[in-house]
Structures are given as C-alpha cells and as structure tokens.
C-alpha cells in the first residue's frame, strides 16, 4: 500500500511546488470566468448576439425615453390622423403637415413605434422569466433524478418523457385553456413545457459529474448528500445549462408570441408583439407595416438569443462544436 500511495503524494507535492515556482516567476493563472469570457469574445456569433441583446435590454429599460407615446395612448382627438396610417418620417420626405409616426399607427390609432419599443419589455420579461422558472425546477428535478437514481429517477424522467411527447406549443395551448387566458398563465404554460428540456440536460451532466474523482473524494471526506449535490456536482453541471437556457429563451419568446397571436397570451391593450401581429393579421395586404415591424422585432430578438446561445456553446463546450 505504501509503495502505491507514495508516488502520488510525491507527484502532488511536486505539482504544488511547480505552481508556486511559476507564481514566484510572475505567472498569474486566469480565473475560470476570465477564461470563459475570453473564449466568448473570440466567438463572433456570441459577440453579435450579445450586442443585439444588450441593445434590446437598453431599449426595454429606457422605453419611456425612447417611445414618443404611451403604448396604449389612442391618438383619436389628439392628432388629425387616420387609423392604420402609413409610416411618416419627415426627414425622409413625409409631408410636414402630417404627424410623424415612424412606424405608422395601428387599428386603434396608436403609435406603432411606441408599441414595438414597449413590446421589448414584455418579450424579454417573458423569455427570462419562463426560462428562469423552467431552469430552477428542471435543475432540481434533473439533479435529484440523476444523483439519487433508482425509482425516483425513473419516476421523474418518465414524467418528463410524457411532457416531451407532446408538441410544446400544443401542450402550452392546452395548459392555457385550462388555466385561462392571459400573459401570466401563458408564462406559466411555457415554463412548464420547458422544464423537461432542462431536467434532461442537468440529469445527464449530473450522471457524468458524479462519477468524477473529486466527488468521490468529497464523499470519502464525509460530505453530506446535499453538500455533494449542491456544492460539488451542480456547479460543474451548469455550463451546458447556460447554453440550453440561452437558446431556450428564444424558443420561449416565440411560444409566447404564438400564444398571444392566438389570443391566449397577452391580452389587449398590452403592447406585445404576438398580440400586435394577431390583431392586425388581416391587414397584411392593406397595411403590411402593422405586421412587418412586430414580426421583425420578434425575428431580431430570437436571432440575438440564438446567436448568443451558439456562441456560448462553442465557447463553453468546444467539444459540441460542429
């Protein structure tokens, strides 16, 4: 036994000595965060996606400053303007006598630009809230299943399998039908249908991580199950979750827009892009700007999250690239 352990101890001691020597020589080791950030910034798609997302977050925060009108302000009686008027930008040649509405007005004679700007708040809130909720619940379920194994794992994962067996949007519609219309219920529905994705990702990571030597060491040192799970395993299972979560936000925003388009999500007069599309869908030929700009906003936001997610995946877990 002595002969077997001695070389290891020697090796460890030599390793520590090497690191100390390097530090003495002026070398500083980068933190994991710094390394990750450096990798992310090397990913062009992540930079573009992150920049767009940053822009959208700023738009959402400063919406009252950017938007010329309250999103629900009806211009009837305040301006001489017709409903569903075309975009009018004075510097681009629009008649100065006409009120300026850079994206036009909608069927209720409200400023479309203001509604698109405020819609950013709703969409980002939808994305972050639903995915946040789904990650918390999914992580707990996946971690418990993966770590405990046995019948608990079986029970949890079979329930997740059942949820995954339904098309997510269809399941969300069914849940909203039961809970009732409205943005809150739509958020809950989207979060519920997203849970299995995160539960599976976390479970897979936990199954892999829990076999690592440092987990065995922690167990040998007498660490409790909770300690091992939450301090040793979960922190090391997070990277794939970040990638999945970023991509999941894009899906959640699309699902929320779809529910609102169908009249099941955000209710009037909330400035939500899906609702704006749904309300004016009949005007696609007579007033195309009413569906084009909310649609464009959805596209840009989803693209931003997808680019960022792809970039994060490449940066955090290069093995998954290609």
């Amino acid at each position: 036994m002595t002969q077997q352990t001695e070389p290891k101890l020697t090796s460890l001691a030599e390793g520590i000595a090497d690191v100390e020597d390097l530090q003495d020589a002026g070398y500083q080791s980068d933190s994991l965060l710094k390394l990750t950030m450096r990798r992310i910034f090397r990913q062009r798609s992540a930079v573009i996606g992150g920049s767009i997302l940053l822009f959208l977050i700023l738009v959402a925060i400063f919406a009252p400053v950017i938007a010329p009108f309250d999103p629900n302000f009806v211009l009837i009686g305040h301006e001489d303007i017709k409903r569903r008027s075309d975009p009018c930008i004075h510097i681009l040649g629009c008649d100065e006598t006409q009120p300026q509405h850079i994206l036009g007005t909608d069927g209720n004679v409200r400023d479309v630009f203001s509604r698109v700007v405020y819609g950013t708040r709703v969409s980002l809130m939808v994305g972050f809230t639903t995915v946040g909720f789904a990650i918390v619940i999914g992580t707990l379920l996946g971690a418990l299943g993966g770590f405990l194994g046995g019948w608990i794992d079986n029970l949890i994962m079979r329930i997740m399998d059942v949820l995954l067996a339904f098309p997510s949007l269809l399941l969300a519609i069914a849940i909203v039908a039961v809970l009732g219309h409205g943005l809150q219920n739509a958020l809950l529905a989207i979060a519920i249908v997203s849970i299995p994705i995160y539960a599976r990702v976390v479970r897979a990571s936990v199954l892999s991580v829990k076999e690592q030597e440092y987990v065995a060491a922690s167990r040998a040192l007498g660490g409790s199950k909770m300690h091992i799970l939450f301090r040793r395993i979960l922190p090391n299972a997070v990277p794939p979750l970040i990638v999945q979560g970023t991509l999941g936000i894009a899906t959640a925003i699309l699902d929320a827009a779809a529910l609102s388009f169908l009249g099941l999500g955000a209710q009037p007069p909330t400035a939500e892009w899906g609702t704006m599309l749904g309300t004016e869908r009949n005007q696609i030929f007579t007033a195309p700007h009413l569906v084009f700009f909310p649609g464009l906003a959805i596209m840009i936001t989803v693209l931003a999250f997808n680019l960022l997610g792809d970039g994060l995946r490449d940066a955090i877990d290069p093995r998954l690239k290609n």
Binding site: V74, H181, P268
Partner: protein, 572 residues
C-alpha cells in the same frame, strides 16, 4: 352463294336492330316525364291525381293545450292537402314576415319522422331533405358544402349545376380568393377593403342593406343599477366609434331599432355623449372612482361589428378615460359567448349585435325585450307590455304611440346602449350575372349566373348544422336556405314578402287566423310530394316541445321560441 347473301342480310338486320335498341332509351319520351313534375308536363292528367290525394288526405294538426302557455300559436291544422291554417292566441300581423324566415323551413314529413330522433341526429343535422333549387350533395367538414341543382324543382331552375359554399374566417383570405377567381362571391367585406374592391375592374361591390345594430349590453352587478347604466350610456362617445371603426355609410343610432324599419326610431333620441355628466352619474351611483369590470366579445365578423377586437379596445379606452372604469378585454368562443350572453350570465359588459331577420320592428324589440328574455336581467313591464300590445296591431300608424312608449322606456331604463348601425358589403366577380345580396336572408344563389357549371360562394364561417329549425347563426341559415324553402320568402331587392311554398297566406280581420294556400306540384329531393302535412309536421317539430320530433342541434329552437313567444308544452 345464296346462303352467304342470306347470312349477310341477316347480319345486317341484326346489327340494325341492335343499334336501334341501343339508341332507344335516349330517344324515348319517358325520360323527361320522369324528371319533370307531373303538373308541369301533363296538367290535365294531374287533376285526378290531385283529387285522389285530396280524397285520401288525412290532415294532421298540432295544438297547444291552451293559450295560457304565453305563446302566439294556438294551433296549426292541415285543413286539406294544400291548405294550412294557423290559429293564433293573439293577433300577429307580422306573421308573413316571420313565416318567411329560414328556420321555419319545410322538410319532408317522412324524412323528419325518420331522422328527428337522437339516434339519427347526425342525419338530421347534416343531410336535410327540402324542396329547394339545390339538393345537398356532400358536406366535407372543415372544407366546403356541395350542392347539385335539383331537376325536379318547381320554380326556375338554376343556370348552373353545382353550388359550392366555402368559408374563411379571415377577411383578407376571402378577398384574396375572390381576386384570384377561386370563388365567385364573398360575404362580409372588410371596411378596409371597400376601396380595393371598388377600384378593381374585375370585381363588383355589393352594398348590403340589412338593418342592424351593435349594442353594448350589461346585465349583472354593478350594472343592475340603472344609474350605472345611464352613466355608461352618457360616457361612451359613439360617434367616435362609428367615425373611426366603421365603413362609410354607418350611422350612430338614435334608437335601438334602425330607422329603416317602420316605427323603428319613434320616441326620444338616445343620450348625447357627455363625459362630465356620465362621471357625475357614476359618482351618484356610488362609484366616484369607477370600478373594475370585463368586456366580452366574440371574434366574429358581422356587419354591425366589422372589427370586434379593435372596437372592444376602444370601449376599454373610453371607459377608462371617461368614467374611470378599468375593463379587461376577453374574447370568447362564439357559441359559448352567445349562450352566456343571451342567458344573462356574463358578469360585465359585452358587445353583441343584431341583424334583421325579417323586416318588422318586432324582430328587434320583441326579440330582445320580451318578458321571457333573460338577456338583460330584470325585465321591465313598461317596455314589454307596450311591445305586446303594439305587436298585435297591423296598422303601423296605430301602433306608433305604443312604440314611442316602449322606446322611451328603453331609453329611461338603459338595458343596453345602442352603438352603431353598421354599413356592410359583399363582393363578387364582375362576370357573375344577377349578382346581389338581399337585405334579408342570404343571396338567392339559384338566381345568379356564373357563366359556368359551378358557382362558389364564400362566407365567413362553417355552418353549425343544416337543420336550421334549431340554428340561429347566419352561416347555417345561408347554407340551409339553398335546400329548404319556407311558406313565404323575401324579395331579392327589398323586405317585401313574396310567395314561395305557399301561393298566399291571408288573415282574418283581426290577424288571429292565417290561412296559407300551398303550391301544388312541388316535390322534395327524396321524391315525395309536398303537402299540408309536411308543413304541420315541420312546424310541430319546432314549436311543440313535447312533440316526438322536437329534436335538433341544441333542442332550444331559439327562433320558434322567440318569434312566437314561446314553445308549446315546454316544461320548466
């Protein structure tokens, strides 16, 4: 050689006889006789047959135990094969206008007796047998209904063979289909598309002169308080709604009933918009800071409400700005919405409207404000008593004072707020001959000429069923009307009542007995002959709740109940 000549001669004779035999059925005179009604082909030979029918005829009847049930119809009797007598519990001068309405269509007695049961409900609801110019060919659920011209039709036969009714809920899709020529006529043209159609040389713009009204209704607390209702009436800027959300030609109503109907808008005009007075009235009612409520609507295009969602949001805005009332907007499924609203179960405000079924003021007032209607909650004797008396007077001038009384009571009690009389339109390809849209009822599709074998009509929803005795929606009625005919009908260009299956319906002096003389030589699509018993059985199935054939889609038989003041033998 001689034998060969004989063989050839025999063969030639045999061949000739075979050819003649093969050609015989086409040349035979029996074929048209089988297709044409006997009365048309051989009027002389028809008379003995008719006499025979008369001699063997056993007339049926339906009668209420007494007139205490509150309805208008006492009995319907088949006096002889071609005479039906309607005895009323109270005078009803509007009988012809009502009897022309599609729900009172006549079905073949044998077909009804065979299918008006829960066991055969599917056939009852989807395969009607009537006397109309078209016989049902196929109902491809979710896609279309196909009809074939009925060869045995008693009137002018259609100029084409196949009628197809399709549907699309989206106005843009309907217009696109019309522009691309895949359909010949569309209903419910969106107001935003009026200019497009009017500027398109390939299309014909068809204004629809159907009187209608959109109203904002409210039933349950806090709207059971008349002061709250008056505040709402004064606090809604109706002109702003009509100016901004309705097509040109729409008007702000002065009364619940459109002015195009006699006695429709007599009495005091509706409240003027006055936000300050409305706010004060709401404060006096105990709600100085407003309250929270809900606005319900169904997302269905109607002439009286072309853009439901937008108008609902406009109400939401006005209630908040003018009265401090915060309202949530909720869209409901159409069937559920109708059921909940007409039974007075919606807690909040709701947008509902009415398009005239028949050209009489009773269609608007009596339907909505009758004593038995739970829609507006508490019923008001000051309204329904005047209406009951007025409905029994045939002379509009004589009834005017009573309608003034009823209209003033409606204004005073505000069971709802009339918002708009909407202008609406249909559109057709300019190649469509005799393109029209009647003021009352669906287009007479047998009278158009598409210049080809098929006419495709597109409406905005799929029919619920094709047994229209128990349906109320316009889409079902339009589909039924091509198959099933009524005793009387509405003219193509006005509300005038004209003969259909009855050549005439005449009343006694006080309009308590209506005698209808039926058209002879009419056959149903199943080949059976139309007679008075078909009328009695069809009406009995609708009006008599205890009748064994009183089976339909819902079993409510709304129009039988509302237009005749209730069903016979209806249990509580």
């Amino acid at each position: 050689m001689k034998n060969k000549t004989l063989y050839l001669l025999f063969a030639a004779v045999l061949t000739l006889s075979l050819v003649l035999a093969a050609c015989a059925p086409e040349a035979a005179p029996e074929a048209p006789a089988a297709e044409e009604p006997a009365a048309v082909e051989e009027p002389v030979a028809e008379e003995p047959a008719a006499e025979e029918v008369m001699a063997e005829f056993e007339g049926k009847m339906v009668q209420a135990p007494s007139c205490d049930y509150g309805g208008k119809i006492d009995s319907i009797v088949a006096v002889d094969a071609y005479t039906v007598e309607f005895t009323m519990c109270k005078p009803d001068p509007a009988f012809p206008a009502k009897a022309a309405f599609t729900p009172f269509g006549i079905y073949a007695e044998e077909w009804l007796m065979a299918n008006a049961s829960n066991a055969n409900q599917e056939t009852l609801l989807s395969a009607p047998v009537g006397t109309g110019p078209f016989a049902l060919d196929n109902w491809a659920r979710g896609e279309s209904i196909t009809y074939k011209a009925y060869d045995g039709y008693w009137g002018d036969k259609p100029a084409y063979d196949t009628l197809v009714i399709r549907w699309a809920t989206e106005g843009a899709q309907r217009l696109l289909e019309l522009q691309s020529g895949t359909v010949d006529q569309i209903t419910n043209l969106s107001p935003d598309d009026y200019a497009t159609v009017q500027d398109d040389a390939n299309l014909t713009f068809l204004p629809v002169a159907n009187p209608n009204v959109l109203y904002l209704a409210m039933t349950n607390p806090p709207f059971d308080n008349v002061e709250v209702r008056r505040a709402i009436a004064m606090g809604i800027d109706r002109a702003r709604i009509v100016d901004n959300f309705y097509a040109e030609g729409s008007v702000v109503p002065s009364h619940f009933t459109p002015c195009s109907l006699p006695n429709g808008c007599v009495g005091d005009s509706w409240y003027e918009f006055d936000a300050a007075a409305a706010k004060q009235a709401l404060a006096d009612a105990g709600y100085p800071d407003g309250f929270e409520t809900t606005i319900y609507y169904r997302d269905v295009f109607r002439g009286y409400l072309p853009e439901p969602g937008l108008v609902a949001v406009e109400f939401q805005t006005q209630l908040r700005d003018n009265l401090g009332i915060e309202a949530e907007v909720i869209v409901m499924e159409s069937g559920e919405f109708i059921d909940e609203s007409t039974n007075g179960r919606l807690n909040g405000l709701y947008l509902l409207g009415w398009g005239a079924d028949y050209p009489h003021v009773t269609n608007f007032l009596d339907y909505h404000f009758a004593a038995a209607n739970p829609q507006f909650g508490e019923v008001h004797p000051s309204i329904y008593e005047a209406l009951e008396k007025a409905s029994q007077l045939g002379d509009p001038a004589e009834a005017k004072a009573l309608y003034v009384e009823a209209n003033n009571a409606i204004k005073e009690l505000v069971p709802m707020v009339p918002i708009a009389n909407g202008a609406s339109a249909s559109a057709a390809l300019n190649t469509l001959g005799n393109a029209h849209f009647r003021p009352f009822g669906a287009p007479l599709m047998a009278q158009v000429d598409p210049g080809k074998d098929t006419f495709v009509f597109m409406q905005n929803a799929e029919p619920i069923s094709l047994y229209c005795a128990d349906e109320t929606d316009g889409e079902s009625l339009a589909a039924c009307q091509q198959v099933v005919e009524t005793l009387l009908a509405y003219a193509i260009d006005s509300g005038e009542v004209v003969p259909e299956l009855a050549t005439a319906c005449t009343a006694n002096a006080d309009s308590t007995v209506w005698t209808c003389t039926l058209r002879e030589g009419v056959t149903f699509h199943d080949g059976s002959t139309f007679d008075a018993n078909d009328v009695v059985v069809s009406w009995a199935a609708g009006i008599d709740a205890s009748n064994e054939y009183h089976v339909g889609n819902t079993g409510v038989f709304d129009y039988y109940s509302y237009l005749w003041d209730g069903l016979m033998n209806l249990e509580d």
